[in-house]
């Protein structure tokens, strides 16, 4: 394994994560896509640390604090969604308001009125 190969691999995972985020709309799929991007960032940190900077302490501190804070944010959202009655499993029957298409384009976002109750 060399650094170049690892970097390509991590970039591939990053792209898969970005594809997942833009393509899927269920809560669980989006969370899994987030994990892919996080894993890609972690691979970068560890590989650069191992190959280039002799396992520096700084990157371990960043990784530890960064991952704790990101997962705390994700946990808050998952817990709030679960506690307020949202579904997290992609199972039928699946209500339209449990979909979270992140980049959905809606006419009301550009032009005219946004009717309340419209998802």
């Amino acid at each position: 394994m060399n650094l170049q190969l690892i970097t390509y691999f991590s970039f591939l995972i990053l792209l898969s994560g970005l594809f997942g985020v833009s393509f899927y709309k269920s809560f669980l799929s989006i969370l899994i896509s987030f994990q892919l991007i996080i894993v890609s960032a972690l691979i970068n940190f560890f590989s650069f640390s191992l190959f280039l900077y002799n396992e520096s302490v700084w990157d371990k501190t960043f990784t530890l604090l960064g991952i704790i804070s990101v997962y705390l944010l994700m946990f808050s959202i998952v817990y709030y969604n679960f506690a307020t009655g949202g579904k997290i499993r992609d199972k039928a029957p699946f209500e339209p308001w449990d979909d979270y298409p992140l980049f959905k384009l809606d006419k009301s976002d550009w032009w005219g009125e946004d009717t309340l109750g419209n998802n």
Partner: protein, 523 residues
């Protein structure tokens, strides 16, 4: 005693954060209480801590000067950012207190609010990547929890979608930091910028692209604005201000942290990057202003205008690329736009919240433009102040809104006047024309939007018979009962706007009366 002195000396420049954490610590003891006296006590403690932090921030900087450590960096820009944040926080505290004091979880709301403010101040002070990322993520968590506790569960799907995008932005930033780390083992942006050899590394370019994409997503700039517009339309009143003035400034501060590196790339690839920035800014300006014209919801109008102001800020990068503005001026533009929005939106929104509350019908159209009809005729005092604030936002000379308009448009005309007659047309000249045209179009559209509001508030008011069931609480003539505090509040903002406008105008005309010890038209 020596230990205490050493501790005090080591935190000398961070008193503002220490004071805020002190208030947060005190509030924690009363988190579960529902007694009204304690709620008032916590409001007073919080307000005093914000004021004390504001004073300490300025006093420390004047007495001790700039400061830099492994994690933090304090220069003039950071002092101004923190002052703006604390001023915003004090205003949001007023709105949260007015709207939520009867809620059983009020003290918890204040605790989360203080945590968010602390995170934003820390973000402003941070220089190390670790501190930047952790405080930024902490702020996002704080604002998510604040919005979750301020609103009822009807908002769930909108809130979750909004913060899923924010989380994506945070994760993309993490990926950006990982690439930065790969390109160099430097720990902050200044070190990267100072090492010119490393700036040529493709990894730095990829890091900047990922970082900018993360901030772009975080700020919900077009075409990602859907979740932002939907949540603003539906959330509780003080939440709107939390999103505008606690959430968005974080993204803007992050942009300002990578300014130096962005400028390096703009200078290196002047043509392409200037074109990209003009394109992004033009989309924001056009879509933001057209969207505002095509809606009758006041919240949506203000939301669209907020996005168009982000476009106006981004336009300043293009101005650097085409040589219309200096690098320092970009930082001034960013801060001036935030300050103008703060000075305009808070008093305007205080009027709108009162109107929304006074309406007795269903919540469907509480923020409709129709509800403002004739408002200035029947509430003359507030009406006059409201119109002064709107005129300032429109860009009237002698008010605060005029100053940033002047610095967007004047450089081009100065360039034309001082240019020799037979100068070849370069790409920079074309870009300068495009930038100035975009700025003028944006300000005209904005003026149309503001004039529309002014016409509505000056129109003939609805009478009780026109309104059927009665639109406002006082059914006779549409008069709205404002709390006495709002009279003082709106008057104070009008006076600040006029004072800042007059001082700015005098500075532009190079007349120095020595009214303030600093220049408001430049750092």
């Amino acid at each position: 005693m020596e230990i205490i002195n050493n501790i005090l000396a080591s935190i000398n420049q961070l008193y503002s954060i220490v004071i805020l954490f002190g208030a947060l610590f005190i509030s924690l003891f009363f988190g579960l209480s529902k007694r009204k006296e304690l709620k008032i006590f916590i409001i007073i403690i919080t307000a005093l801590s914000l004021i004390a932090a504001f004073v300490a921030n300025i006093y420390n900087f004047i007495s001790s000067g700039t400061f830099s450590s492994f994690l933090f960096n304090l220069e003039t820009q950071q002092v101004i950012e923190i002052c703006v944040v604390l001023f915003i926080a004090l205003n949001i505290l007023i709105f949260i207190s007015f709207n939520n004091i009867n809620k059983s979880q009020f003290i918890k709301i204040i605790i989360i609010f203080l945590f968010s403010v602390c995170s934003l101040v820390m973000l402003s002070l941070s220089s190390n990547f670790i501190m930047i990322f952790v405080s930024f993520t902490g702020l996002t968590i704080g604002i998510f929890q604040l919005l979750a506790v301020l609103n009822n569960i009807d908002l769930r799907s909108y809130l979750v979608r909004f913060f899923l995008i924010s989380t994506l932005a945070v994760i993309v930033l993490l990926a950006g930091f990982s690439v930065f780390y790969g390109s160099t083992d430097f720990k902050n942006f200044n070190q990267i910028f100072e090492s010119k050899n490393l700036m040529a590394s493709p990894l730095i370019a990829i890091g900047i692209i990922l970082f900018s994409a993360g901030i772009y997503l975080y700020l919900f700039i077009f075409p990602f604005q859907g979740s932002y517009l939907k949540i603003i339309r539906r959330c509780e009143q003080s939440s709107v201000l939390v999103i505008w003035f606690l959430y968005f400034p974080a993204g803007i501060f992050l942009f300002m942290k990578i300014n130096k590196i962005l400028f390096y790339f703009i200078e290196k690839n002047s043509f392409y990057l200037t074109a990209v920035f003009i394109f992004i800014a033009f989309i924001c300006l056009l879509c933001g202003n057209l969207g505002a014209i095509k809606t009758k919801s006041i919240r949506r109008i203000l939301s669209f205008i907020f996005l168009s102001f982000l476009g106006v800020s981004i336009l300043s990068y293009a101005m650097v690329g085409s040589g219309l503005a200096s690098k320092d001026r970009v930082e001034w533009f960013f801060m001036a736009n935030i300050v103008l929005l703060v000075l305009s939106y808070f008093p305007i929104y205080s009027v709108i919240t009162t109107i929304e509350k006074s309406k007795k019908t269903s919540s469907l159209d509480n923020d409709s433009l129709e509800n403002l009809k004739g408002f200035a005729r029947v509430n003359k005092y507030i009406g006059v102040n409201f119109i002064i604030i709107l005129l300032s936002f429109l860009g009237l000379a002698g008010t605060a809104g005029f100053i940033n308009r002047y610095f967007y448009i004047a450089p081009f005309f100065k360039l034309i006047i001082f240019q020799p007659e037979k100068t070849a047309v370069t790409s920079n000249t074309v870009f300068s024309i495009l930038i100035t045209a975009a700025a003028i179009i944006a300000f005209i559209f904005l003026a149309v939007n503001i004039l529309r509001l002014i016409i509505v508030v000056l129109a003939k008011p609805k009478t009780a018979s026109d309104m059927g069931a009665g639109l406002f609480e006082n059914k006779i003539d549409g008069n709205i009962q404002f709390a006495k505090f709002y009279y003082i509040y709106i008057t104070a903002f009008s006076l600040i706007i006029i004072a800042a406008g007059v001082i700015g105008l005098l500075e532009i005309l190079n007349i120095n009366l020595g009214l303030v010890p600093f220049r408001i038209t430049g750092f």
